[in-house]
């Protein structure tokens, strides 16, 4: 039996499978491994960031700084590697430390100053974007033998598709994220916080440490997403990735995670990313549709999922009430 808390995920998965089947009926070429490979690589940075966003939303929070942190990371890496000749690995390490520390600081403010996450991360969004402009306002190309090596590394699927390093990174992030969420103390604490912070605290959940950990994770993964984005575009640009946090939120919600926190799966976010990628791919195949249809379809899907979630909550509350009345 499907537990009602997994129902949103199952629904999302079903929608994806059906939609993919319909697309494949119309354009059989969409079944090719090339399309799948591209779908993964095109959405790799978004997927990585969305894993961090899933943790944040599961805990009942929100992180609006993701897009800006990605832009900052890409500019930082491009400038340090391109202008200062730093080895890319060193630049990656430095920028991951910065983005993780940035996330931790936001988490600490949320916890200890009791400021709502929306406000703190909104400030973080402006801060990171401003810092990116400060480094460079131009689009900075990046070229380094090491980066070429990473970009050139891939596994070939039968049929010509490629599983690139970035796709592998994204899949690894999803797998590790999924394990952390479902099989570690930290993960359980995240769900507990999202359920009810007071109860969680009274049950002995270290709320401060967990909150900081959540936003540090989101910061770290935004940094990692920024690195993936730099590799993907071979450049750093401070105007890039505006609004990516909203795409990430959309993927999380379409993936069945409740915006109020406490319920959802990392795997759901993966399917959410695939659905967004599928819509883009379909539009490319169709050739006549405006790319804005992506936004419209995602908007519609979001509405559908929010209504669905309300419906599920209503249904399960009703069931509990009925059970209670029978017991009384």
């Amino acid at each position: 039996m499907i537990h009602s808390r997994n129902l949103p995920f199952v629904t999302t998965l079903a929608i994806f499978v059906i939609a993919y089947a319909l697309c494949a009926l119309q354009f059989p070429a969409m079944l090719s491994t090339r399309v799948i490979g591209n779908l993964l690589v095109d959405n790799a940075f978004l997927g990585i960031a969305a894993v961090g966003m899933t943790f944040v939303i599961l805990s009942g929070g929100i992180d609006l700084s993701i897009g800006s942190v990605i832009a900052f990371t890409s500019v930082f890496v491009a400038v340090t590697v391109g202008s200062f000749g730093l080895h890319p690995l060193t630049a990656f390490a430095v920028v991951l430390v910065i983005s993780t520390a940035f996330g931790s600081a936001m988490g600490a403010m949320i916890r200890y100053l009791q400021i709502p996450p929306f406000v703190v991360t909104l400030a973080g969004m402006f801060l990171a974007r401003g810092a990116a402009y400060l480094i460079s306002t131009a689009s900075v190309p990046i070229s380094h033998p090491f980066i070429d090596t990473i970009q050139g590394f891939y596994f070939r699927f039968p049929g010509g598709g490629r599983l690139t390093a970035m796709s592998m990174l994204m899949i690894a992030v999803f797998v590790v994220g999924g394990i952390i969420a479902s099989r570690t103390k930290f993960g359980a604490n995240v769900y507990a916080l999202g359920g009810n912070p007071q109860s969680a605290e009274l049950m002995g959940v270290p709320v401060g440490r967990t909150t900081i950990g959540i936003y540090a994770t989101s910061g770290f993964l935004s940094g990692l997403a920024g690195i993936a984005y730099t590799l993907y575009t071979s450049s750093g640009y401070s105007l890039a990735t505006v609004g990516v946090e909203l795409d990430a939120i959309a993927a999380v919600v379409i993936g069945g995670t409740l915006l109020t926190g406490g319920t959802g799966l990392i795997a759901g976010t993966f399917v959410g990313i695939l659905i967004q990628g599928l819509i883009q791919t379909y539009i490319v195949f169709d050739g006549t549709l405006s790319s804005w249809w992506t936004k419209i379809v995602i908007g519609v899907l979001l509405f559908v999922f929010i209504v669905l979630q309300r419906g599920i909550i209503w249904y399960s509350n009703r069931r509990i009430d009925i059970a209670r009345l029978k017991g009384a």
Partner: protein
């Protein structure tokens, strides 16, 4: 303190001495001593605001103490948070915030101490151990189901199982029976007796004296932040205990009012409901309320008591029948419409539906009056202040500070403030849903007195209560509900607890109680 000398040191699992705590200059606990033996159930009693919660929160690491010592098994301890207190051996089960509804039963039981295998949570082991743990409490349930799918009673036992498994020396229960029915309370008590036999020290906070006598061995009474006494319950007369709590001889709260039995107000009903009902909520009923009359509504949990109130106050819209006031038909389409007719309603869930916690006492009191005047005519803050001071004096709301956010008041005082809110509008019909739930005996008596005074002034009242003694003491008539139907109406001398129970147990009730 008087009896505590003869307690053997070795039997004492938890001992607190001279605990003092103040909040912003207000002393909440003043050099309080408390001791708990192994294998005893110890009641902690006191009126609202006596300092029970503060003492418990200090013992369980939620608050830090200003001075004093706590010894657990002879070792001095200072838990800095709930986690530390748990690790030391002190576990707590709270009345309201209890476990996490969005997690499964097994996840709730093992949150923070998940069994691990290769560094990761071993869910299979967690399930196995959860089943094993709950079996000891006689629970055989699906540990993979979300907690929210189970009743409050089962959640309570799960919370106890967690707390005992986690801590193992001291179990603190803060009003565990407040939302349980009699049968569930019995199940809970048998669990407590079993734990006591295993040598656990249990602290029980409750408002129900019957329950204190039913399971507890000793009692500690606090009043106004000070220790009043610590007695063995065996042979302690109930009146002595009550006067310890109130610090004054209890005036015969309930019995006096029986005088109302004979004189049911006569005359035409000013407010009447004919064939009034809503599908899926309450079956159509007739109800006529005369000025100066108290109509009680009795029934078990889920029998449609609160739903009746929702209909009367326009929160739910009736789909059949008519409502008339002074002979003309009215449409109760919303609470605003009801307020315009001069109705008032104090809901059961005080915290979520009644008060606005961050607003001051004065603002909370002025709310309904403001709604009735319309928002275009604001009540000046001086008027609010005067209004609040009036009611603070007449209802004895403590602390007597109109500017204090209402969330810092105790339950009884919050309830008085909500009553004041409606009294300020001078309603003709006041609906009270469980007006005395979760408040102490002193405030309880005051609220019953107030109800009597109001009906003496010609106000009509509808009082919903699960305490039959309360209903029989104040109501002129009692409507008995069962299975969301009005099944009986008792009036005058027939209003007795026995008659109400007979009515509830009458054979037309299809489902087992």
């Amino acid at each position: 303190m008087s009896d505590s000398q003869n307690i053997l040191e070795a039997d004492c699992v938890l001992e607190a001495r001279s605990i003092t705590k103040s909040f912003l200059g207000n002393i909440a606990l003043d050099t309080v001593d408390f001791s708990l033996q192994r294998g005893e159930i110890h009641a902690l009693l006191g009126e609202n605001g006596a300092g029970k919660s503060t003492l418990i929160k200090i013992l369980t690491g939620v608050y830090s103490r200003d001075s004093g010592t706590i010894r657990l098994d002879g070792e001095e301890v200072s838990p800095a948070n709930v986690g530390e207190a748990q690790a030391l051996g002190i576990g707590t089960v709270y009345q309201e915030v209890n476990l996490l509804e969005n997690l499964t039963v097994a996840e709730n039981l093992f949150l923070g101490r998940q069994p691990r295998r290769f560094g990761l949570t071993d869910r299979r082991e967690m399930r196995r151990r959860s089943r094993e743990l709950l079996a000891r409490y006689g629970l055989d349930i699906d540990v993979d189901a979300l907690l929210s799918t189970y009743s409050v009673a089962i959640r309570q036992i799960i919370a106890i199982a967690r707390a005992v498994d986690l801590s193992g020396k001291v179990l603190v229960l803060d009003e565990p029976t407040a939302s349980l029915d009699a049968q569930e309370v019995e199940v809970l008590f048998s669990v407590l007796r079993k734990l006591k036999a295993e040598g656990l020290g249990i602290i029980l906070i409750t408002h129900f004296l019957n329950q204190v006598y039913a399971v507890c061995d000793r009692v500690t009474v606090l009043r106004n932040g000070k220790l009043v006494g610590n007695r063995a319950l065996d042979g302690l007369p109930r009146m002595d205990l009550i006067s310890m709590m109130l610090g004054r001889e209890l005036q015969h709260v309930t019995r006096d009012h029986q005088a109302t039995e004979g004189d049911v107000p006569v005359g035409d009903a000013a407010i009447s409901f004919n064939d009034y009902g809503k599908r899926g909520s309450v079956s159509p009923f007739d109800l006529a309320i005369r000025p100066g009359e108290v109509v009680g509504i009795a029934g078990l949990l889920g029998s449609g008591r609160s739903e009746t109130a929702f209909l009367l106050f326009g929160i739910d819209r009736a789909d059949s029948g008519t409502a008339t006031v002074d002979g003309s038909e009215i449409a109760l389409t919303s609470p605003e419409a009801a307020i315009a007719q001069g109705f008032g309603f104090c809901p059961e869930e005080r915290k979520s539906d009644g008060i606005i916690g961050d607003f001051s006492v004065a603002e909370n009191i002025a709310l309904a009056l403001q709604a009735r005047q319309g928002w275009a005519k604001p009540i000046s803050s001086r008027q609010k202040q005067a209004l609040a001071e009036d009611f603070i004096r007449s209802l004895d709301i403590r602390p007597a500070d109109p500017d204090r956010p209402i969330k810092f008041l105790s339950g009884g005082n919050q309830q008085k403030a909500i009553l004041a809110r409606w009294l300020a509008t001078n309603p003709r019909l006041l609906i009270l849903d469980e007006p005395t739930r979760g408040i102490d005996i002193g405030a309880h008596a005051e609220i019953l007195k107030m109800i009597e005074k109001l009906c003496g002034d010609g106000m009509s009242l509808v009082v919903i209560s699960s305490e039959l003694e309360e209903l029989t003491a104040i109501a002129h008539r009692v409507i008995v509900l069962s299975d969301r139907k009005h099944i009986a109406e008792l009036s005058g001398a027939d209003v007795t607890a026995d008659n109400i129970m007979h009515a509830i147990a009458a054979p037309n009730r299809t489902e087992a109680a």
